[in-house]
Symmetry: C2
Subunit: 404 residues, 2 copies
């Protein structure tokens, strides 16, 4: 089915054309959502229609792609799913939310079948790369096309042959490095910008390729995967994972994702104390933007980790002090920074061909709801300034004597 | 106007009787709220009616008093306000929310006129005591009649003469001590149970008596006031308050309330670091019941206090460590406690005449939404067990391997 979109009376009209008999007809967007989409996605019409009415299924038209974007999940269809229209309809399912275990010992045995594959969880931003309209396109977690990632990913890895052979697969991975525009983290093996793939998933069904097949495919096409730490017996898992998490933490790395080697059971994540402290430190650098939302779950993880590790009083004290410092130090730094008449802002460095490309990216960030401007551009290096408005406004108000 | 209440067709009917001409008529509760209450309270009818429809103005009938309870504020009428019906209508206005300053230096000068009265802010529960239907009655902050406080307050202070002379005044104060059923805190000068008055307010208007007149009245009637630290010049205030807060904190006391001596400007509060840590410790003993709500504002206060005091690196470090310990230590203690097959609960001790009175109080707590049972009773001492259900349920679920 080919879908083109036109407008009449400010309503979107979808022009559908049957690929086999060439018959074409037109249908309004709400009718498409209530009559055709339920059959395609195998989801009840009333749920799709409710989501559309609540503004959670949105018409998307940007960066050369028209489609329907799922801002929230509907039934089994994940948030971040995109239904892309073109010569044919292509569905890129949202990346599933990975749940967290707080207690390795009982939860792994309960959740998995005998064996667990362990992979590194990296600290960057989740990207899905797929062939859409025969063009390699990168989607953010929320289902937005990221112009920067779409441009950069092909520069750092060669995907042509892979997508030629497997147009129905999606590369799911993490964009990482110090010069990435969303979440910067220094990995010595990566430097400025790199991509690490953790899943290969089927476009429409979101079915993930089993671990060993995935590793074989990635090796065959010379595509970079996340670190794989092996497949272990579920009984040995807690001990092995604690040792691994400890090492990763000391190396300032985030944690692990635990997977069913067959990829038939949903994966789980588990992270290092070091990662929790790092995230708190970031959140409390911008307390009124991120502090409240970030805080609670990180300290809960710390509590259960300390308990499961049966830590001594000294070890618990150290953990408590690090948590306290991760909250108080950055907050006081930011109060001082704003008292000196600055804004709470973050500078992001990206490499682009020209100023227009930088402006384009800043606009993309604003589309996502982020306050961002191009601060400077020279020699292909653009500095994008991301402004944390709530933190700036509220702290300066309190400094001027505003009441809480 | 005298109001009696009857029922017809499951709707409340108010029977009104004019005191001057004895004319009586009847009116339904919604009509009373839309036609009569606006004139009495000087609030727009549509706002009162909306609040009633949203369930924020409720018909109250308990402990011998019928009336209308304001669960949320409507215009200038505070949450916790009670319109009591009886021989005449008596309005006890809710206790106004006291806002907080984070930075003494600019805010006091901005907020007050030249001078500030300083009083101690105590750690207990806010109670308003008024003469209703010629009976001394104690209301909680939310506007519920507290049977325990109503019984205990007259045992610990003699209010008869005061209310005889001033039936139109409300005693606003803090019930404090180790054997109080809501917020226990040890004050050496109080012990098990005591009451300290901070405001005298007019029943219907909520107008507060100026500080010096209040002190004179309390002394005359031999009623206990909160500690009064004097009236100071606004320019000297930050330094004096920091010194005072430091002393209070070291003595494990909460902080101060800063008032316009004429009581024409709204008061402000400011609290010690010690109090913040203590509240965090309580909140993280029951993290899934209180942790999330308590946390953020306490650490923000710490940040601004450290900044305004221009603390050294060592002082900031100490503050950070105490905050971390106040979060992590109680949380791990509670996880261990629940792992040993216990509930997250608190035992409250109250002195009552018989088991029925204890059951009565437990029922009152349940009316307030608290899970509470009488755990034991002997020799006039009842142990009420308050159960923190979310903490109990969620922690035991995670311990059994539940996912986050």
């Amino acid at each position: 089915m080919q879908i083109n979109v036109g407008k009449s009376d400010s309503h979107k009209i979808f022009f559908l054309k049957c690929i086999s008999c060439n018959h074409s007809y037109e249908i309004s967007m709400p009718s498409f959502i209530s009559d055709i989409l339920p059959k395609i996605l195998d989801v009840e019409a009333k749920n799709l229609l409710r989501s559309f009415k609540n503004g959670n299924i949105k018409y998307y038209d940007n960066h050369g792609i028209q489609g329907l974007q799922f801002r929230k999940s509907v039934g089994k269809i994940e948030a971040g799913t995109m239904i892309c229209f073109g010569d044919k309809m292509e569905i890129v399912r949202g990346f599933p939310k990975i749940r967290r275990t707080l207690m390795l010992y009982p939860s792994l045995k309960k959740h998995f079948n005998h064996v667990i594959a362990i992979e590194e969880k990296m600290n960057g931003y989740n990207v899905r790369i797929a062939l859409i309209n025969n063009k390699i396109t990168a989607f953010t977690r929320g289902g937005y096309i990221c112009p920067y990632t779409t441009k950069k990913a092909p520069e750092i890895m060669e995907m042509g042959e892979f997508f030629n052979d497997h147009p129905d697969l999606v590369l799911c991975g993490e964009m990482v490095g110090t010069e990435n525009p969303y979440v910067t983290h220094n990995y010595r093996e990566i430097g400025e910008l790199g991509f690490r793939i953790f899943d290969l998933r089927k476009k429409s069904s979101n079915q993930a390729i089993p671990i060993k097949d995935k590793i074989t495919l990635l090796e065959w096409y010379n595509l970079p995967g996340v670190d794989f730490f092996g497949i272990i017996n579920v009984d040995d898992a807690p001990e092995i994972i604690f040792e691994l998490i400890d090492k990763l933490g000391m190396d300032n790395r985030e944690g692990v994702v635990l997977k069913d080697p067959e990829m038939k059971i949903e994966p789980l994540k588990y992270t290092s104390s070091n990662a929790h402290a790092g995230e708190l430190e970031y959140a409390f650098t911008y307390p009124f933007d991120f502090g409240r939302a970030f805080f609670f779950s990180r300290v809960i993880r710390e509590g259960f980790q300390a308990y499961e590790l049966n830590e001594t009083e000294e070890e618990i004290k150290k953990r408590a002090h690090i948590i306290g410092e991760s909250i108080i130090y950055p907050m006081i730094r930011t109060i001082k920074h704003i008292a000196d008449d600055n804004q709470a802002s973050e500078d992001i460095i990206i490499h682009v061909d020209n100023l227009e490309e930088a402006e384009n990216f800043a606009r993309h960030l604003r589309d996502l709801g982020v306050v961002a401007i191009v601060h400077s551009f020279s020699d292909g290096k653009a500095v994008i300034r991301r402004i944390h408005q709530s933190t700036t406004d509220r702290i300066s108000n309190f400094l001027r004597g505003g009441l809480y």
